[in-house]
Symmetry: C2
Subunit: 388 residues, 2 copies
């Protein structure tokens, strides 16, 4: 009924501590390669320009600011905000407007500038996505939410911490080969396992980074796709799910109910199953989150996710490669950019454009992005299909 | 191509200084009448739950919090943020997802809680929707932006301030008859004209209110509409427009270019013109904004808007009734709620459900909502059609 929609181009700023660039400049850096491919401002009908938290920069209503800086301030725009799922929530909203025919071509940019404040302050700002009456005042922060999940998972499934560290080792292995990564260096299992505690049982190498960065993509309606590329990536499945606000209201801490629902909805819309997916970008805000994602998405049975990392099935040459760009752990996690960065990486891998052969995944027909907000309150799953 | 979408129900919290209610409770108050009409949580597929500024409550990513409180935390949701256009931007995004077939039935809630801080602090928070590098640090606030426009308009068209005051008198005349209004009382022309200056030439009665409040509506796809109501209001036209970030980059201060573009796009999509509109809700954040809206929307020629108010053509029994609910001026302006409140009012008027006959507009086939963000950086125009 609705029109098919494809991702036709994507761009990515360098993630890191970007004291050299303002928020608007990070967006321009992400849009620049798209512009250089010939998708100039006049070819864009409308945009969604998003960041998660206005606290970091103080800027409210920033889509106007970004649109102005990108030279598309005369075209409709808005900001979507869904904590760490801001990028894919923006893509979901944009998809709707294009699929329904309001616009033919939309630019989606996700950005976050997190390092103008201290990491303690950044952690506090992120905590404000918890319940400001019933959670935040009692001091719980995001590492603590995920530490609760990790503790419970380790208890229920008798999981040693080293398995989580193996996920960190994988992330850094691939991040080291990604020129956009915030922390592009290898770590050993010993380093990862023995690093300083952040919120027990999670230590430094279980936690993703506080990064500045931006990513961008352009989507187009089916009848316009050919004007932009011969290698479109179709949006085949979109699933969104949500969970109770507070973790104590959930039946289980070893699975995120919204992620299970989002995955099912995306598979159903795409008419495929987890066994059909050739690569996945999952939301590894903490190592435990990646492990749980394997199971929530159906790549492994509950409690069996560890086999995928222990047998290296989630490496680029394994059964289901996951986060072969370094993930949130090594590539970085500028909140609003993350979901768009996942989309960028899948397009890049599908087109065979990974920088190093040692991280290029072969022959991708279907890629999946799994983007989680807060401690699982909202989740978006996208399934993308190679269109050439 | 896409499915038709209708507003099938709407609800509205009392606007005002709502120290008795938290943000989530305001949302519940807006949803309650919808629930009582039988649109229970299980009948809603997904939601957009939005507020403009997280500074007021400190709450980030609050759609999860609101979804949880409303009992729809297991359904997809997100927050849209576009300053004062947050409500209609949410409706535009929701329309896309329903029209394109991702969901059949969506709840849209707009809310703002602005009075937990002083009005000086509230004004400062709103100023942060200006450019945080090039505008805010130099002290310009929203009354000042609109004072620039008013000064220029008064100079170019030789407009006496009393004409602006007449708009305030009309707003308060209708607000006094609206039980949801923040400041439901009449004002005289003398009071309005002689009130204390805020940012010359604008005085107290030229400025809208700093309000707490929420409004909600449910939209449904054409094939599901009959399950919910016999009196649906179809979304017939959607136009969005934008303008340069900074007012000095605009060609004119007496018109908002994004509003002109948004209006044209909405008329074009609906296949109607300004002469076909039976009532309008326009964004009177300041009296000058309402006057400019008459012209930007084509109800009057540039410079001639004053005739509409002077001849009372914008009263409920005039040629083009505008803001017969009191508008942002007397009903109030809880930022994220405003666009949804406009939608609520048009549905209510169309159904003949205004509280007082002296504000009920006769025989409405087409209603228009005009919602402006910041100093015109983004504008949404909706045209709604009676469906019975």
């Amino acid at each position: 009924m609705a029109r098919k929609v494809a991702v036709v181009a994507a761009g990515h700023a360098k993630f890191g501590k970007r004291f050299d660039a303002t928020m608007r400049e990070l967006c321009a850096e992400a849009y620049r390669p798209i512009y250089e491919e010939g998708i100039t401002q006049d070819r864009i009908d409308a945009s969604i320009l998003s960041y998660a938290a206005s606290q970091f920069t103080g800027q409210g209503a920033g889509s106007a600011l970004i649109a102005d800086y990108l030279g598309i301030d005369d075209k409709p725009h808005l900001r979507v905000e869904s904590a760490c799922t801001t990028g894919t929530a923006s893509l979901r909203a944009a998809w709707g407007m294009v699929a329904a025919g309001l616009y033919d071509v939309m630019l989606v940019v996700g950005v976050e500038q997190m390092n103008r404040v201290s990491s303690a302050t950044a952690t506090e700002y992120m905590s404000q996505a918890g319940d400001m009456r019933w959670e935040y005042p009692y001091g719980i922060s995001f590492p603590a939410f995920y530490a609760l999940m990790a503790s419970r998972y380790m208890y229920e499934y008798d999981l040693p911490h080293e398995v989580l560290s193996k996920i960190a080792v994988k992330s850094h292995h691939y991040g080291a080969q990604n020129p956009k990564a915030h922390l592009p260096r290898e770590v050993t299992l010993e380093e990862a396992h023995n690093s300083v505690p952040i919120a027990r049982p999670l230590n430094l190498y279980d936690c993703s980074l506080i990064s500045d960065g931006a990513a961008a993509c352009v989507i187009a309606a089916e009848d316009r796709v050919k004007e932009f590329t011969d290698e479109p990536m179709w949006i085949k499945g979109i699933g969104a799910g949500a969970s109770a606000m507070m973790v104590q209201d959930r039946d289980s801490l070893t699975s995120i109910p919204g992620a299970v629902r989002a995955g099912k909805a995306a598979y159903e819309m795409a008419g495929v199953g987890p066994e059909d997916i050739d690569m996945a970008q999952v939301h590894d805000c903490f190592t435990i989150a990646e492990l749980i994602a394997y199971e929530d998405l159906g790549f492994a049975e509950p409690g069996k996710g560890r086999e995928l990392i222990e047998n290296k099935e989630v490496y680029h040459d394994g059964k289901i490669p996951v986060n072969c760009d370094g993930g949130l752990k090594s590539k970085g996690h500028p909140l609003g950019a993350t979901g768009v960065s996942m989309t960028y990486e899948i397009l890049k891998q599908m087109r065979g454009e990974a920088e190093e052969q040692s991280r290029q995944i072969d022959d991708i027909q279907l890629g999946l992005a799994h983007n989680v907000g807060q401690s699982g309150q909202f989740v978006n799953v996208f399934i993308f299909e190679r269109g050439w």
